[in-house]
Symmetry: C2
Subunit: 473 residues, 2 copies
């Protein structure tokens, strides 16, 4: 593709994205295609001869687009957000154009040093303790795995790397912790039977007393407690495990304390939400995803560690072909995680933070929390509905409840969710909280305004009206 | 940023990238900044107020660009290539704009089904056995870790996930295998002492007889052989471990056979190089990186498995909040690897394969191999130099050798490399082959033409002339 053709198509795609940002509301949020429908429209063999970009882009619009679920739709209320922003897209575009692979400092000093600088910016914005060192990972799953591996190595004096894990080490997390903890426990060779899921209270936050009891029970049984994972903003309900109590317990028993703030870390930008990090002086590591709620397109997950030495010692490798003269003087991020190869992700985050400024980022997050409180109030005021959990952030858990039994309520609320999603006007997902089927209303897309939240609530009320909900008891 | 401003900056960045593709030769290949130089030019605190994109982009050009090492320079001869292409950049741009996170089918059916379709295209293009199922990972490090974990679980009837790894399982790889094997062995809890590095022959390929002896030795000692990793195109020299002999050995002893074709997989597109996959009927898994030599910008690593069931069983998690009605009917790629979140990477690969067509891709790879042969001939004809390894692909290993001792030769060749890199006109890295310090000439960037290879050779000759090399004995 020659230069002028690239320019032409590049401009065309930029314009398409500009229009898409504007008209994304016109698409059904959740794709309506059936399993196999897209696949059946793609030839089973690759083309032998080159095809023109006009034709490929046409196929993108006619074949691929109907199979897209629109994460950037302002009525995206499912899972957590993975919002982006024009600024972040521009950063990602430059990253792709440069085609830098930042595995070691020498392969692009600016990639390493901008990452170092921007992570320090983020540490300050979140009010994390001084001295925490940061690295960009792809996802929180990877970052949490890094934490578990560092904990494993520290607990075995770095001998598990050498000899394999020879004894059971115990990991603790709330029953409401993300599935990536269980996945990491399996990958790192702890074994799922050595993961203790600590009960949560009525607010779905981990009960610290139960944590300490579990640790003591394991110690009494001759087992070795190794790592505790606290979650700030659980996936199901946005619950906040109490660091001020969990921290001292972890410290007292010599556990690595990892904090999963993947979603709610963004809220720590706000003075009024900074309390979620009370107790942060106790943490060994923390993960926070700007690719969820902070306008930075996926993937961009920040991992902070108190003792980077133990992280590097867990992952370092020294093949001859990766040695450089700069090694004694620089950070080689290849030793800060699972992967060797690294995309230049710091660039888009730098674009976002500078474009919005700290005040812009705070205003953005604060507005979503305001809208969630508004929505929560509407739910609480409608006798057919109930609010299912505290709503600290941009997530409100709710359901219809007319007093029928739990199984019937689950079916009723699942029917509500399926009907809502079938309209294409909004997209919701569910969870189960202490046995109760619950809908999740997540507010976090860049273009979500009060009118979208009002429209979503009107849609929910109207859809519920078609479901023969009895007046509440 | 409003629509018109995004359009303006988007066009500006596209134009900048178009120019960059054209004038990348004007930059020193390896950045010349000193450690800390870039960092010192970035404020230590983030801006409180928004900054204009004009200013940010200006800083990109003045602060960041000098710290970039130019992977897309036609005289990039270091490591392996990580080439990109205008087509791939366009695909990545759309991926960023859509902001899709394809963790489960429902969160974008097109992302899942296009991935499935394009991986089948790639399987056909490489001539891999029918029935192999594919998934896109970020890097070969991750894919190899997936293979090691699947091997671990299969060998323990999926009980390591549940109970931890209770007994030593042994992994085999060539002494020339990539460092990601050692890293994966540590992460997955095997322990480095349970990794056997099998000697390589004069061509740096694994000696299959030595592999079988090691397996028998371990069995006799009561240990359990679990996994063998064969490399097609080793990092140091591009050596090809012989699958036709390794395959039956792995099968005979019940080992999981993983193939690392991260770099040289691209060569399997060519009928004349298809021999590297002879014996592929024995493999359990294979990794191949289009982000190295196949015009697809980083990251895009393809992982193929014979039995996807064992992969899924290794990684599957079923939290309530991820369940969807489509689950029984679709591939949920979240269970095909380490991470939960997934970028829509198939789009750029689809753009590349369609834009170039199979014939275009083959012509591209074939030309680099021709250039490498040309270079090898020049080296062989100059009595000051020697070729250090067979050159099957786009990599030629060479060094100055005037008969002095090995330590002195290492210093001499390191001096040659440092002087070459300091010119900024080309970038080379080194390795050590059977104890001998060796330079690597890698030809694989999109815009590398014969004139660039000729210029690199002239530069090498001229630089060597300044090094007081004695006439060869």
């Amino acid at each position: 593709m020659d230069k002028e053709i690239f320019r032409r198509h590049g401009h065309e795609l930029v314009d398409w994205i500009a229009d898409y940002f504007e008209n994304v509301e016109s698409f059904p949020v959740m794709s309506r295609v059936k399993p196999g429908e897209i696949r059946s429209r793609i030839p089973s063999v690759p083309p032998e001869s080159p095809e023109a970009m006009d034709r490929i882009f046409e196929d993108f619009k006619t074949v691929i687009l109907p199979g897209i679920t629109h994460w950037q739709h302002p009525n995206w209320h499912a899972y957590f957000p993975a919002n982006n922003s024009p600024e972040s897209v521009l950063g990602e575009l430059l990253t792709a154009g440069l085609g830098v692979q930042g595995m070691v400092w020498q392969t692009s000093p600016a990639a390493a040093e901008l990452e170092d600088a921007v992570l320090e910016w983020m540490r300050r914005l979140l009010g994390l303790p001084e001295g925490l060192a940061g690295v960009i990972q792809d996802t929180a799953s990877t970052a949490t795995l890094c934490a578990l591996l560092s904990a494993r190595e520290r607990a075995t004096d770095f001998q598990s790397n050498e000899r394999g894990l020879k004894k059971p080490l115990i990991v603790y997390a709330s029953e409401e912790a993300h599935s990536s903890v269980e996945k990491g426990v399996k990958i790192a060779g702890f074994g799922r039977e050595n993961l203790r899921l600590i009960p949560s209270g009525p607010d779905f936050a981990m009960l610290p007393g139960q944590l300490e009891e579990a640790i003591l029970r394991d110690k009494a049984a001759g087992l070795e407690p190794c790592c505790a994972v606290a979650t700030l903003g659980t996936t199901s309900s946005g619950a906040v495990d109490p660091l001020p109590e969990i921290g001292p317990i972890a410290r007292r028993h010599g556990l690595w304390l990892h904090v999963d703030a993947a979603y709610a870390g963004s809220a720590a930008l706000l003075p009024e939400k900074r309390w979620i990090l009370d107790g942060a002086e106790h943490i060994d590591s923390l993960v926070f995803n700007p690719h969820k709620w902070l306008l930075t397109n996926f993937d961009c997950s920040l991992y902070f560690v108190k003792d980077p030495g133990s992280l590097v010692r867990t992952f370092e490798i020294h093949p001859e072909y990766l040695k450089t003269g700069a090694d004694p003087y620089v950070k080689n991020y290849r030793d800060w995680g699972i992967q060797l190869g690294r995309r230049f992700r710091a660039l888009k985050l730098w674009f976002v933070v500078r474009s919005y400024g700290a005040e812009g980022l705070r205003a953005f997050v604060r507005e979503h929390i305001r809208l969630a409180q508004l929505f929560k109030g509407w739910v609480a005021a409608d006798p057919r509905f109930e609010v299912m959990a505290p709503a600290h952030f941009g997530l409100v858990c709710f359901r219809l409840n007319d007093g029928r039994g739990e199984a019937e309520l689950a079916a009723l609320n699942k029917a509500l969710m399926d009907r809502l999603n079938a309209t294409g006007r909004a997209y919701f997902t569910h969870t189960v909280l202490h046995g109760k089927f619950t809908l999740r209303m997540v507010i976090g897309q860049r273009t979500t305004r009060e009118r979208h939240v009002r429209a979503a609530w009107a849609l929910i009320q109207e859809t519920a009206a078609g479901l023969e909900v009895k007046p509440s008891a």
